[in-house]
Symmetry: D2
């Protein structure tokens, strides 16, 4: 593979710069499928609460790439033990792990018949601009990148860099979401984690001298989940999205002619698997524009839900215990309960300790070379993970009922 | 007017919090027209260079409001001399100054028959949700807010807070664009500017002890313009936008039936003035979706330009001196020169000094109470504004010709 | 009391500005006793590990004042319920709480016959420049400020602001030590704590909506203790200080003429209580200069320990379990074990939950107005405080034995 | 030379980490002479205005080293063209350039018979712990390091890294002083300067694409000088220092027995050149302790000036034009005008353009490989350097005359 004649850099407030010196990386970044990620918001509904959280999966994906690049360049055990080809493979896996993401995150998947993870693999391994770029470099590359993302690459270290409890994906989104929303909860000491990272016994480990940094990272995750990702206002917006797509599906099943008015959903509603080209056209802009169309359609439920989404007239939330009372009020107020009551339960365990799989758990390396799972040596983490699973179950309903 | 029972806050990484204690402000923020600003990107084409510059006019407008709120609360001369009604008026003017903004900034105005500033006034003063909220508070309020934005409010101090060389609008966008793009050029010391701000002789002035801070602000502006706003890559993207809209207009003039395929532009192309409701529907999402449609339309120029915009296949740039040579190459390569050559000249004067209008120039208050225009006392600013107007004229053209 | 004609500000990177609008505060800041705090390092031995932690108790004391000022200005329940005199009293208590601090923190107290807290009270209530300034304002003021610092002021809320598990002192030092050492562990969201602070049932409480912020604060404390304050290298430096002062004391008891060579310690060694004027002269500079003198004195132990302190030739550390083995090696190497072996055990409980005293524990106010102690509602804190007391016992000894 | 078995890092809030992988560097950092820099304040009198500017020359020297290290590692033209020995030499020159600094900066030199730069050379090249460490590595090393610091090393690039208008020394102090004082004026984009740095025609040059970054750096310097370094309050403190040392000198000339009371100045006052060991003992602590002694001595001028310094009872300042009037008032009030009037003029040119010496001026490399001096291509810099030399001449005198 060719090196670029000069390292290229992209300014990034989280990492300073995203640095690229391999031509293959640069070309993938320029591909049509990667550029589409500019039109997929990273945080979806969260910007309804933290209004500055407007960044895209494009910026996040570049950030994940950059963290992987630093890992394979700065962590000695990775730098010296991975081949150039493996380094390229895992950097690409970081860059492309979200390439098949649907608009608006999980709510949209209600009307998808395949999960977005499958589209990620499809875009990498089947006919697409990206796929052609990868194959030109090496025929095996699409499959190798895909296997890292799937988690079944023979060198499990590569998989751990991309998907584990201490992977580049989580590290970037915690730092990034924290920076862009203006919350401080997600900050942790990435520099020190990189400095204390080693490979031992075929797994990524952290030297015990970095234990406090890891504890801090675990807490950062915990707080970001409750303060940001699972915020009731964000979930109220997701509730609307889910109900809108459910209503769309129900209407389509009653009469498929609805796609004449909403052509952007024709393929999605009528086919079981979209082509890469059809999937490409589904992005946030497409959905937002469809909400404008829906707002003026005849179906009162669809029109109302679309208007609520566009104009942020969100649902209220209450503890799940009040479900029966609220349901009664909602139906008495004349709302169709299929679309105007939504329940949602979020559970979060700050850390899931033990497992026999190396990519589960966080593994610490002590001075004597022993590897132990984090919760066995951190009193804080041990205390947390066995005592503090917390859950939050809410019912969502229209204001004023 | 009612105070909110408890101050509401919105987290903002630039200002810490945006604070709201007036119900009228809160209601305007919740209005349909204000929520639309979430779908208008602040920086337009700039995110093609600084990829993290993805924030919206929604967040900027809240930031301008917050700076105005701080000015009328923290600057003693404003706090004590403005009435409550005037404070509400000017805070709303800050909040709403961009309410009529079109998608993609200036390039879009090529197909608009009215300027976005006129739509701002129209939305505030004519039938809209926002207009109703304002009128409910006070029948005069829509007109008073509009007059501050227009710059003809009888109390010229209010106008200066919103539009002058040291207004809340510029202050917010320099700080915000700097934060979100990750460049440091736009940073300056807002706290100290607020501390040294006074009112004297019916104008906003800055105590001379704040002169270095103002010099730093002038330089911040200067650098942001050249490093960020006028970056050739950003202008290359704007060139494509301008050419795409020009092609759309030309096609419409040939055959107005084109709007059957692009219904989102029907009103815009056929009417001279849009209603508030029609204007509401024009946002970034609408345009981005239209580019998807165009990419698959028969006209090769429209399809090509739309594809370039979606997939970031930008134009190249060269100094204007090479115009003739490049034009020859472009036409020889078979491109229609009406749509594939674009020239653009940007001139920037870091500071425009003298004028007899109080809202022009930046006015300094010395220890003896004399008011002098900034360039008369700052050697740095004087040197800059008479010697360093810089301009940059470029020609843009397709790669590979 | 007179307001200053214009608010004065001191730039502070942690708080932006320290703001003063009361003349009495300004005069106390200018007093001889307060200026002495410029010559007392805040972190003592910690700068041997985190070399940029060189800030003084002067800057910390200004920071504590600023947080108290914000509390009594911005927390509505305090702003409205405290009298002007009480506000002045508690701001001064924040400013002056460390006024009697000795050089080099705790190690120096080995040769003091009174604790530094007693000197704090003495300086405020007995003959000093500070005492005169306070009395001029109000005869009762010295005693009232002292009673807040002592914790026995009749209005216990004042005491809680200065000394509790969520007091201005801790808040400032976590933020400040974090900023100056460059560690991120001590950061937490002060703004949000101030926003959720209330007074209920005669105690400071935090609304439950602020619970995650408090959890984050508890963890910040925990990490700062282990990563910064109790770092083995810092304790190794403290060990040397303790041993040096012990040796000095032993030599003085053998022959008090040693003070001829070290006149700065004459009063301290010969008197049981120092006058304010004598105490004033004990600062870091005095001690550091004395180490230079000691380095050239005849006693080999004193000279060696002083040289080690000046030139950072610190002791090594090992787990306490190795005490017997190390002691043997130290004596065999010819070292006097009285001065060359040091043991130190640090215990830290991230949070001490229950107590019936309002100033102990952190109290949360739920939506229904009930007050509950933090560990009863935070699963995280509950898990931590009953399971994760951690301790670290070390033995320190000369390198190379 | 031996590499350390593992890179060592020192946390630094300005640079993230200071990284050391050469044993010789680590040993020099641990030397007695380098550790002394912990006791020499970087900003001297500036902390009288910006109270948090309390950092030492120790932290600054580590920062200069780190910037040099990054230059020789990250700037390709340096990395590839300098030998390992040259890299070590220039990193050491950065680390040690201030090793001979006197306490309290320039004011102290009033009583020194040699400049501190000469002591820097003396400590490196003559008998000292540092000198022994350097010689052990290579007999030539002391002299080579000294020649870089002196500016006469045969490879002039090395000299430019340490002393030029764009050297590591200035870069570190602007960033560091900015961070620790909490002013934002000194910030500039170090990353981008490193990225655009090249070597051409035996000089350090910056690619024209980095011109705006350099303009920003020039302005950062300019503002730091006027806002921080030349602040009148800082100069008022320096005035007191200068007068105190002048008085001490005058008293010594009258009767040299004064050194019995102030033994720390014996060598300094009686000898023309101090030994390294004698010089070692002069640090801030020594001076501060001496002020305590002076405050209680019989000479009323010395006692008064010492008390003013310890307790921050500074002189007032006024424009030099008022000199005659003020002198009259000072003498009428009974002050000895030799010690109670001080005049000081500071001139600052933001950038000194042309010179034929490569280390003067900042040199830009254009796309065609031509090297031009900065002011020839930057309109801003050109405007500034020929029009805006500014000076500030003040007279200082006791308050209340």
């Amino acid at each position: 593979m060719n090196k670029l004649s000069e390292e290229k850099v992209l300014r990034d407030p989280v990492h300073g710069y995203v640095r690229v010196s391999e031509e293959i990386i640069w070309r993938c970044m320029a591909s049509r499928e990667f550029q589409r990620l500019r039109r997929i918001n990273q945080l979806g509904s969260t910007s309804m609460v933290y209004h500055t959280g407007e960044h895209s999966r494009f910026t996040h994906s570049l950030g994940v790439y950059e963290i992987v690049r630093r890992m394979v360049s700065e962590v000695k055990d990775l730098r010296e033990n991975l081949s150039e080809y493996e380094k390229i493979t895992v950097m690409l896996a970081g860059l492309l792990h979200d390439i098949g993401h649907a608009p608006f995150s999980h709510s949209f998947e209600a009307i998808m018949k395949r999960k977005h993870e499958e589209y990620t693999i499809q875009i990498i391994t089947q006919d697409s601009e990206l796929n052609r770029i990868l194959k030109e470099y090496d025929e095996r590359l699409p499959e190798d990148v895909a296997s890292v993302i799937r988690g079944n690459h023979p060198n499990s270290i590569l998989c751990q860099l991309i998907s584990s409890q201490l992977d580049a994906d989580r590290m970037d989104y915690l730092l990034r979401d924290s920076y862009f929303t203006g919350t401080k909860y997600g900050e942790f000491d990435l520099e020190r984690i990189l400095r204390t990272m080693r490979v031992a016994d075929d797994r990524l480990v952290i030297k015990v001298s970095g234990m406090h940094t890891i504890e801090d990272y675990i807490m950062a995750r915990y707080h970001m989940y409750w303060q940001v990702y699972y915020h009731p206002v964000s979930r109220a917006h997701e509730a609307l999205l889910a109900k809108l797509f459910q209503r769309l599906l129900d209407l389509y099943h009653q009469d498929s002619a609805i796609v004449e008015q909403l052509p952007m959903y024709r393929a999605l509603l009528s086919k079981s698997v979209l082509s890469n080209d059809e999937y490409f056209r589904l992005d946030d802009a497409t959905c937002l524009y469809s909400f404008q169309l829906m707002e003026r359609m005849d179906d009162p439920v669809l029109a109302d839900l679309a208007g609520r989404l566009l104009n942020r007239r969100l649902l209220e939330s209450a503890p799940i215990e009040r479900y029966d009372e609220i349901r009664k009020r909602v139906t008495e107020a004349g709302y169709d309960e299929r679309y105007y009551i939504y329940t949602d339960r979020q559970i979060q365990n700050p850390y899931e300790p033990y497992s026999d799989h190396p990519s589960h758990g966080i593994w610490m390396l002590d001075e004597k070379g022993n590897i132990r799972e984090l919760s066995h040596i951190s009193r804080i983490v041990s205390a947390i993970c066995y005592n503090s699973e917390s859950d939050d179950a809410l019912v969502f309903y229209p204001k004023g009922v």
